[in-house]
Amino acid sequence: MMKTIPEHVRNSWRRRLLAGLLASPLLWLALLSAGRQWPYPALLPLEWTPEHWSRLLTGRSDLAFSLFFSLGLSGGVAVLITALSFGVSRAVAYHRRRRYWLLAAYLPYVFSPVILAACLQYFFLRANLAGAVAGVFVAQVLITMPYGVIFFTNFWNGHIRSLEQLAYTLGSSRWQATLYVLWPAARGTLLTGFFQIFLISWFEYGLTQLIGLGKAPTLTIKVFQYVQEANLFYAALAGTLLALPPVVLLWINKRFVFSRML
């Protein structure tokens, strides 16, 4: 007699299979980052070495600097834009011409980032911001700010407005209503928005390349640089590092944000 596999066991295996499929490109990258010599038609590199990783971990590779530079840049952009766009989105959401403001917020995404950067480059050159880290920061602020506004505008719905107004009639000042009512209500949304803005900045290439003129060595720039140099194993190492924060953020989202929102 044939034994049927219980449903929960099947589901568990399906989840593991899906997780394995999603993780496989990352595992492959990590594997490749420890490779050396991979002549055609070998299926895998012929030699393996911990040297790339040890150079990174001992600070002898410029990738370590790129990693911390990218973390600092994207972290800074994400903190600033989350705070700014949350406030601006409130003004947009309650404005009687909300639709037009939102339409304007979508405009930067009509063009590809490279074309947008080419359009903006003149102004960055005039402001002495081209080829400077500050210029890249400003450029990333410009590209992430509209996204933040679009993302947070949906938070300001009728329910939130009623909660805020109720707090006022109970005696809250605007500051108290923000601190004790809006902030706790928005915590999950703010965290998700922060992650998404961080990721946009983290993977940004076009603007960073054109405005930064190579002076802002983010990890994304490094990956492309190594690929162009055909430095396959370092490209894999940079790619692995590039993929790590999104994986960590995804895990945090799943563990702490979605579970509370559901």
Binding site: L163, Y168, L170, S172, V181, A185
Partner: protein, 250 residues
């Protein structure tokens, strides 16, 4: 009069919602306000609470012109149809909210909130999150949160509209008991005729941007436009029809 609103007008784009409304409310007095959807009841309450500004008119509270005062300075609490409990706070903390804003001592907060919870028959729910409560319990907690700060005027915007008939009747009784015990001054907006009559002997009828106030139930019952006669005729006709020809048991 504790509260007086004179010649209040409000227009939203092309629509004139309020066209010179006058309301007066004595201390510890209650006014029921009836009106169809879109008749301007909510707009009037929001103007009184300071959540909307009037295009014209004046609001006087206890002799002071509060027309341009911020809502937090007025001492007028506006209660929505939805209980709107703060989702991140449990029942105890929801009720304590206004006292914490006023920086009361912890022991005083505990004493007041526990007394209010007992009054509202919610003592055993104090540590529950809002989503764990029934509709009636949520509304009671919302009352407690408003009443504990002793508002000068309480504005209720169809507070029982979302409740089932039995819970609604219980809530009406509870509210009347609390209103009397605390000598509340309140405006109670509803679209339910029976509820309006049950909550106050003074009844206001909002229509065509105006508010007509009837000082007693008899005047209101005799008003042709109030819909009371139609309601009475409906029940009388039903009763007579059923009395003459009992319904088919099938």
């Amino acid at each position: 009069m504790l509260l007086e609103a004179v010649d209040i007008a409000k227009r939203f784009e092309r629509e004139e919602v309020l066209a010179g409304v006058n309301v007066s409310l004595p201390a510890s007095g209650m006014l029921s306000v009836l009106g169809r959807s879109g008749s301007g009841k909510t707009t009037l309450l929001k103007i009184l609470a300071g959540l909307e500004s009037p295009d014209r008119g004046k609001i006087v509270l206890d002799g002071e012109d509060i027309t341009h005062w911020q809502p937090q300075k007025r001492g007028i609490v506006y209660l929505y149809q939805e209980p709107l409990l703060f989702p991140h706070l449990n029942v105890f903390e929801n009720i304590a909210f206004g006292l914490r804003l006023r920086a009361w001592a912890e022991a005083d907060i505990r004493r007041e909130v526990e007394a209010m919870l007992a009054d509202l028959e919610l003592s055993d729910q104090a540590n529950k999150a809002p989503h764990q409560l029934s509709g009636g319990q949520k509304q009671r907690a919302a009352f407690g949160r408003a009443l504990i700060i002793r508002p000068r005027v309480l504005l209720l915007d169809e507070p029982f509209g979302a409740l089932d008939a039995e819970t609604r009747a219980n809530m009406q009784t509870l509210f009347l008991r609390l209103a009397e015990a605390m000598q509340l001054t309140a405006i109670f907006v509803t679209h339910d005729l029976k509820e309006a009559l049950a909550m106050s002997h003074r009844i206001g009828l909002m229509q065509s941007g105006g508010l007509k106030v009837y000082e007693n139930r008899r005047d209101f019952l005799n008003e042709a436009g109030a819909g009371v006669q139609q309601e009475m005729n409906f029940w009388l006709n039903l009763f007579e029809t059923e009395a003459i020809a009992p319904s088919n048991p099938r």
